[in-house]
Symmetry: C2
């Protein structure tokens, strides 16, 4: 259970923690757009679940409210997401790339950047 799987809503909540470093339930709630903002208790329940999954932790109490912080990094969480998706594609990246291009979400700049990173990696680490 290295990286717990996080749901959509859980991820949206984590985003506030990742961005701010820490936050109260109220702050996490208010980070949602006024239109279509879940109830306070909805966020609360979800944060409790995140806590049960060890994805967040309480770091202190200020006044009568608790302050939470992420216990898993954005990187790790995102990595988990992508690995899960990739598994559905039999671990192959190529179809994923193809779809990204198709939907116009992948720019040439993105690709150039990736290429640069890959070349750099290859130089340092032939073992891939």
């Amino acid at each position: 259970m290295a990286e717990p799987k996080l749901s959509k809503l859980e991820l949206r909540i984590m985003e506030t923690l990742w961005r701010n470093g820490q936050a109260s339930i109220r702050e996490m709630q208010e980070a949602f757009p006024e239109k279509d903002r879940p109830a306070y208790t909805t966020i609360q329940t979800t944060v409790y679940r995140l806590e049960a999954k060890k994805a967040v932790q309480r770091i202190k109490k200020v006044g009568n409210f608790h302050i939470f912080a992420a216990a898993v990094s954005r990187r790790a969480a995102q990595r988990r997401l992508i690995d899960d998706l990739l598994a559905l594609f039999g671990g192959r990246s190529q179809p994923v790339m193809a779809h990204l291009i198709e939907s116009g979400k992948l720019t040439l700049a993105d690709v150039k950047e990736a290429e640069k990173t890959l070349l750099k990696l290859e130089r340092k680490d032939g073992s891939r």
Copy 2:
């Protein structure tokens, strides 16, 4: 509801249909590795749900069993998956690429290929 969202198990079942063109429940079930193969009725229930979602349809009856075929293409289903994932990243591909590289799943060849495709697209379609 252009493209229904398909769950992990549903996708694994669809895979058989996409690959074979058509299949009976029994065939879909037997496509799973003997080790860790869901019960016949599990597949059946899931196929029925796929039918309710209009992702598969019965095309004929042979003997006492039905033959099903996919009613959504693999491409469309995969596209939906990736769009959903991308939404979690604010629609940006870059983080996805970064993670693919990090996990060693994206080869330089994949990137070169993507680049070629992109360049070709750009020439034909400046509106992107």
